[in-house]
């Protein structure tokens, strides 16, 4: 009898609590834009995937050495005692995303959080991030003068369903980086610009004659997560004339997808690329290091590679002779004119976005901090003498002219680039594409891999949202 009562108690407790699965929408700490608006003691935390001495060290240094002291100073002048902390993470994007998703779900995390723009859709649909208008008030958001400096295409990174969720940090473009020293040894030109996939393969075959050199690493596999999609599948897909999401449907296992997987097979099936490297746990970091050691010929990467990886002073894989040794070229379409919109060359762009955590205790002050971090001075200070395509036109005008690579991206690549669809389903589609490349580099045929992709896609988004295949 007693045992039964215990059991009944346990079961009823479970049933009573089970109503709580999912998020509680209206807790006390949310929904009030003006809570603590007049507080004299304010504590704010900035969360970002950057860490001193590691990933995005420049960004971490900027937050600790510039943003925090200057913001504290500015607040002090207003009579507010602000304490700003930096929650710097230095991990894979995948782990970082898991961490902040758990933070958002449990009411933790920083007040200002940096996320990849492509995660915005799923976080927003889950209510894990909220529109700025709701969090801090539409009048306050609209009155920021910074919006006028942000191009619409970039601002769109921080928008979901026509609502502003955050302020973008900037944008980037994808190009083919190549090692000019190796190119010279293989008898390839200094100003290499392939005009088709065949040109890329031809160059790689010449590089193969050098011993100890991997001709080309085209990001593939599931370990590299979004890097595979952004620096591999999507630019190639754009080169076949399709984007992954068109007219409300996701691209199934069409001939375009098979062509892309076919190029992977040409590269990794014939020893032009190293398939094992793509499967290593730290394969991407390793590919950076090998490029810096003059052991990889060609790498499809974003301009992040130029400014944060092989950067001679603070990069994660420093190349002292970067300015003379590293060349870049636009990513060609499969053949001239076969790209999306009849383009000869293609690219993909993305960018990070800083959002205000809906659980913040100080929404007004967090928004102030966010504006402060996106001011002209702050954005310029963030670059610390280096160049980057920031969110602000006024800053870009000043800094890009000093850097040939970044001005190339701004002038030549951004006009032809494409953005990923910011939908909640995108990460699942991306994962399916990564799996397809993983299948090809481990020996399956493009047709088999495409068939598996089709199944995974239908399972992820539903048959009615898949086109072709």
């Amino acid at each position: 009898m007693r045992r039964k009562i215990f059991l009944a108690a346990a079961v009823s407790a479970t049933l009573a609590l089970s109503g709580c699965l999912g998020q509680q929408q209206d807790s006390d700490t949310e929904g009030n834009a003006n809570q603590n608006a007049d507080a004299k003691d304010v504590t704010l935390t900035i969360t970002s995937n950057s860490v001193a001495g590691g990933k995005n060290a420049l960004g971490a240094a900027w937050i600790t050495d510039w943003v925090i002291p200057k913001f504290t100073e500015a607040q002090k002048a207003k009579g507010v005692n602000a304490t700003v902390k930096f929650d710097g993470i230095g991990s894979d994007d995948k782990d970082y995303k898991t961490k902040i998703a758990l933070d958002f779900n449990t009411g933790g995390g920083g007040d200002v959080v940096e996320i990849d723009g492509i995660w915005l859709g799923e976080f927003a649909q889950a209510g894990q991030v909220k529109p700025l208008d709701e969090l801090v008030g539409a009048d306050k958001v609209d009155s920021w003068d910074g919006w006028g400096q942000i191009p619409d295409a970039v601002e769109a990174l921080g928008r979901f369903e026509d609502k502003r969720y955050g302020v973008p940090v900037g944008t980037d473009g994808r190009v083919l980086f190549f090692n000019k020293k190796l190119f010279a040894q293989a008898g390839l030109p200094d100003n290499w610009q392939p005009k088709s996939w065949d040109d890329i393969v031809a160059a790689a075959e010449k590089l193969k004659t050098l011993s100890g050199v991997v001709p080309i690493q085209l990001n593939a596999g599931t370990v590299m997560t979004e890097a595979t999609t952004m620096q591999g599948v999507l630019p190639l897909l754009a080169g076949t004339g399709k984007t992954v999401y068109q007219d409300g449907k996701w691209l199934g296992a069409s001939q375009n997808v098979k062509d892309v997987l076919g190029l992977y097979q040409r590269i990794y099936g014939s020893g032009l690329g190293d398939p094992l490297l793509q499967q290593e746990a730290k394969g991407r970091d390793r590919s950076f290091a090998l490029f810096a050691e003059n052991k990889i010929g060609i790498l499809l990467e974003s301009d992040y590679f130029w400014r944060s990886v092989v950067e001679p002073n603070k990069g994660v894989a420093k190349m002292a002779d970067r300015n003379t040794a590293v060349g870049w070229a636009m990513v060609p379409a499969r053949t001239a004119g076969s790209g999306v919109g009849g383009q000869d060359f293609v690219s993909m762009s993305g960018g990070a976005v800083r959002v205000v955590n809906p659980h913040t205790k100080y929404p007004q002050q967090a928004w102030e901090l966010l504006q402060f971090m996106n001011s002209f001075e702050a954005t310029k200070a963030r670059l610390a003498g280096t160049a980057q395509i920031t969110q602000r036109d006024d800053v870009n005008k000043e800094v890009l002219s000093g850097d040939p690579m970044l001005s190339f991206v701004a002038a030549k690549v951004l006009p032809i680039t494409r953005f990923r669809p910011g939908l909640a389903d995108y990460p699942k589609v991306s994962a399916a594409l990564q799996q397809a490349t993983a299948d090809v580099i481990t020996g399956k045929s493009p047709d088999e891999a495409a068939a598996t992709y089709q199944d995974a896609l239908v399972k992820a988004v539903g048959q009615d949202k898949v086109a072709g295949g």
Partner: protein, 320 residues
């Protein structure tokens, strides 16, 4: 929450200590002389902790397993109950089948055969070894057992590394990426190395219980070493073998350390069930499928139960 009155009622209903013991007896024996209510008072804190940290999460997992709850996206706000959908999906999911098969392989190779045989061989050989040698070997084997998993995984990654790894240097095989080309073999060898100490110690003490006179007799009548082990030693330690196999099988089946070496890769080739659950729940990009992962956790628990029941059945039949 549950009505607290339920618990209170339980206590009130309980017979008072001064009440005469009911004659039916057996179930009401009051060994400590405390009376049921006081006894309950003593165990209540423990029961509370078990309830909060064991029973509640277990029931909670079962409940999540019936929903499509996710880490992000719409299903994280309003999870829908999908009933047995997750279980049906798992049974049809080739990745689940793959994980189950790899788990079985992992348990058979590294625990049932590897640790058992190596552990017994070590214990048997060390019986006749000098105390100095015995202690040294035991210390080394124990060391691999007591070192923290993260440290051990780091060492193994360094040994098996493709560039400058110790194994490649020793075998003169530059450029072999052991963890990528032979992931399951690496995991099995790793787990044998890691867990043999337990079997060695258990068999060490079990062998001490075998009467030396019987081994001596067997030797006198000319039994070979294999015959001695099979016909003289084994009947004495049969129970130990089964218990040991049960324990190490369950540990290995639930072991998460493989994740530290291969993270289930490359391309799911070393994704045992616990790693698979992690990858589905929070590991993989685009996954975050907490509902599905919870359902598979329950299947893992069931597999454990089946394993335990099989062993217990065998043990009982041997005794009977």
């Amino acid at each position: 929450m549950a009505d607290p009155g339920v618990g209170a009622a339980t206590l009130v209903e309980a017979p008072r200590p001064e009440e005469p013991r009911p004659a039916r007896g057996a179930t009401r024996i009051d060994g400590a002389g405390l009376g049921v209510s006081r006894a309950l008072g003593f165990v209540a804190p423990a029961l509370l902790l078990i309830g909060i940290f064991l029973i509640f999460p277990a029931l909670w997992t079962i409940y999540i397993g019936l929903t499509d709850y996710q880490l992000t996206g719409p299903a994280s706000v309003a999870p829908a109950v999908v009933g047995l959908g997750n279980y049906l999906e798992a049974l049809a999911d080739p990745l689940f089948g793959n994980a189950l098969w790899l788990s079985v392989l992992f348990v058979l190779g590294s625990a049932v055969i590897g640790q058992n045989v190596l552990g017994f061989a070590l214990a048997w050989t060390l019986r006749s070894a000098g105390p100095g040698l015995r202690r040294t070997v035991e210390a080394l084997v124990l060391l691999s057992w007591i070192l923290p998993g993260v440290v051990v995984a780091y060492l193994w990654v360094a040994v098996l590394s493709r560039d400058g790894g110790t194994l490649n240097a020793m075998l003169n095989t530059p450029g072999v990426a052991w963890l990528i080309q032979y992931p399951m073999t690496c995991l099995i060898v790793f787990n044998i190395w890691r867990g043999t100490a337990f079997s060695m110690m258990l068999y060490g003490s079990a062998l001490a219980a075998v009467p030396p006179s019987q081994i001596e007799t067997a030797r006198m009548v000319g039994a070979s070493r294999l015959q001695t082990v099979r016909d003289v030693v084994f009947p004495h330690i049969r129970g130990h073998v089964l218990t040991n196999t049960l324990l190490i099988s369950l540990w290995t089946f639930n072991d998460f350390t493989p994740f530290l070496l291969t993270a289930g890769g490359p391309n799911h080739q070393s994704e045992t069930l616990p790693v698979f659950i992690y990858q589905q729940a929070i590991g993989g990009e685009g996954n975050g499928r907490l509902g599905y992962a919870s359902a598979i956790s329950l299947l893992l628990l069931l597999a454990n139960l089946v394993l335990a029941l099989v062993y217990l059945g065998v043990l009982r039949r041997r005794r009977a």
